[in-house]
Symmetry: C2
Subunit: 388 residues, 2 copies
């Protein structure tokens, strides 16, 4: 079988190059995320995909795992792209789709990024991994580490719904609850880490984004390689937003698509919306959101994404935008979506739906455009937030 | 595009034939389930599948929906068949797989059967549907009815975890909680039904089994049309067990497989195991389990399956067997599986795993055999049962 085209890692800010054969974290010169680069050649064509299993590993040439037996597979990827026929009709939208990530292992899109990070950590001989999490990333880490035989240390805000804790514990992970936000959990984790745990915090580790980008490959493949006009994405750490954009650029390099018409929209909760604040100011960095409010959309409560520059760049480069949504709007969105399309979204997914409505009313989205909404996870894990 | 081969319905017991153009329930002569029959012709070959979307509708020639726009699609089907590499090694089993149904819409295998039943009801002009449920079938009915614009009336035991109720309510269904088992819920529903609600109780409606059988088509396709030696299945109403067996027989009729080596194993909870009791006696009917115990595996608490004759026939015809598992064993199985394979099973799935272990110890399953375990749903919906 063919191999991975993985070449090396590069800091997207200063250009410093890092070897693929070492355990890397982020750029040591300027504290920015590292991105994987590939030596693309013509041996990877669309036709190669026909007989491959429908999971995220089908794009392995453009993924960083070099030996097949290091791929840890729990069923991640190739989630359905569901046509929202009722809402298309109600909102006069020619093409409206939901990329529904709820069916992934541990019930969320985090399975992709964490699955990739743990697979690569296994390939590089890592024995213990730690993470601060709003919930789903912790569940995914616990699961992939269990299968890989790696010890997982998970730090989560004590306001995280209990199901996430249960999930991590049953997989054998060490779970520590921390007062405050994911930033406080990260601080406690750093304090506890004696240096032997490999930290897979969002974008402080280079490969979660390589897993997340497979959403972009799949959206393209499921739309027969014709990219949508708009993708609306719930943004906490922002890896998925950046990853989908990276995927589209790689598809262009591969020669599988000619152009990238897609405008990328970041959605955040109104109680913690640092991306929206920076977008309003037109700046490329993000200041930490002071005293962020609690929310039913736990995954959006990230005071400052480590990859802030990349998040903002994706929005600007794609002619995208950024939208704030309140918890009250999320609940209205959940109800409307469930009653109309029969899909019970995670709160983050409902925020995306409400962002669509705001952008449609403003005519930022036109009737004849193709729009893809992202639902990042299973509503069931949030049930204790949703007893309204 | 090609059409469905659907021909008519037949009582498998007395042979009475029913027209496909009417709303049918069960055989009016002998109160037995009706099975769909198809006029098979050579136009449906394995090659036809290559470019079809990976969901349960890819086998549409062998499904009863006649117009494409009546297929209600929420992302159901083509769930992963996961290689259990760690457990294979620990238990010296040459091939061990999990067909993991947890990623289906509403988090369970019920999406297949209910998706098919609601699609067919829509095709036949039904306006209101009712169901008694242990939980997951109700969630699925609420979802598919929401998208179809059909009113759903759902009756569930009051011991059903709260997440299932939330799920049904947010989709706009009318939910009624009933003291006792699913049998009591069914009695209350029958009392409330003024005759205008279409009852989709397990096997009292002919098409849920047609959805469930797609698990059999998929297992065959995912194993490259070489059927496994053993399938272990958690059995409440038994539709899936019967459905997989029906699928294998249809695949033989289609000429896609030559023989059916598979032994079908039914697993029940020890507090309510009428199938096991009948199997021990070697009889083809099932007596209601008196005063069934509550269990964390809600889906297994069915005192008497309506399709008892078909369930027992499947076990006997396939040289299968039937195994009882206690709640204590289920909890041990959940923990072992999660810590070894990184997969958090539903309690019903954990019962299947423990049944495997019992059958392996007895040498009923041999080391060199290929075994497929079924996990029927998402553990997250059961979280309140699992706070141990």
């Amino acid at each position: 079988m063919a191999n991975s085209f993985f070449k090396d890692l590069q800091c997207d800010n200063c250009g410093e190059v890092y070897s693929k054969n070492h355990i890397n974290t982020f750029c040591q010169k300027d504290n920015q995320p590292l991105l994987s680069r590939y030596t693309i050649n013509g041996s990877f064509s669309k036709n190669a995909l026909i007989n491959r299993p429908k999971n995220m590993w089908r794009y392995y040439e453009m993924l960083p795992i070099e030996k097949e037996n290091n791929r840890i597979h729990l069923g991640e990827g190739f989630t359905p792209l569901i046509n929202l026929s009722q809402l298309e009709s109600n909102y006069d939208q020619s093409h409206l789709f939901l990329k529904d990530e709820s069916g992934n292992p541990t019930g969320s899109f985090k399975a992709r990024g964490i699955g990739m990070a743990v697979s690569k950590a296994k390939e590089l001989g890592v024995k213990e991994i730690c993470i601060p999490t709003a919930g789903n990333a912790g569940s995914a880490l616990a699961a992939y580490c269990a299968k890989a035989g790696i010890k997982a240390h998970i730090y989560m805000p004590e306001a995280t719904p209990e199901t996430f804790q249960l999930d991590c514990k049953i997989m054998g992970a060490k779970v520590t609850l921390v007062k405050g936000t994911i930033a406080d959990a990260a601080a406690m984790m750093t304090h506890d880490n004696d240096g032997t745990w490999f930290d897979v915090s969002t974008l402080k580790e280079p490969f979660r984004i390589e897993g997340k980008k497979t959403m972009g490959y799949e959206i393209a493949e499921q739309l027969d390689w014709k990219l949508p006009d708009v993708i609306i994405y719930p943004t906490g750490g922002g890896t998925g937003l950046i990853g989908i954009w990276k995927a589209f650029n790689e598809l262009k390099e591969l020669g599988w698509i000619d152009n990238i018409p897609t405008r990328m929209v970041a959605v955040q909760g109104s109680g913690c919306d640092p991306v929206i604040q920076s977008f309003k100011k037109g700046i490329h960095t993000i200041s930490p959101h002071f005293n962020p409010a609690t929310t039913i959309a736990n995954g959006l409560r990230v005071p400052k994404p480590f990859g802030d520059r990349l998040v903002m760049k994706t929005i600007y480069d794609s002619n995208g935008t950024a939208v704030s949504i309140s918890d009250k709007e999320i609940i209205a969105g959940l109800n409307e979506f469930a009653k109309t399309e029969g899909l019970f979204l995670a709160p983050e997914g409902a925020a995306v739906w409400m962002a669509y409505k705001k952008l449609k009313v403003k005519n930022w989205i036109k009737n004849n455009e193709t729009v893809v909404l992202l639902n990042t996870g299973s509503a069931y894990k949030y049930a204790e937030n949703l007893r309204f």
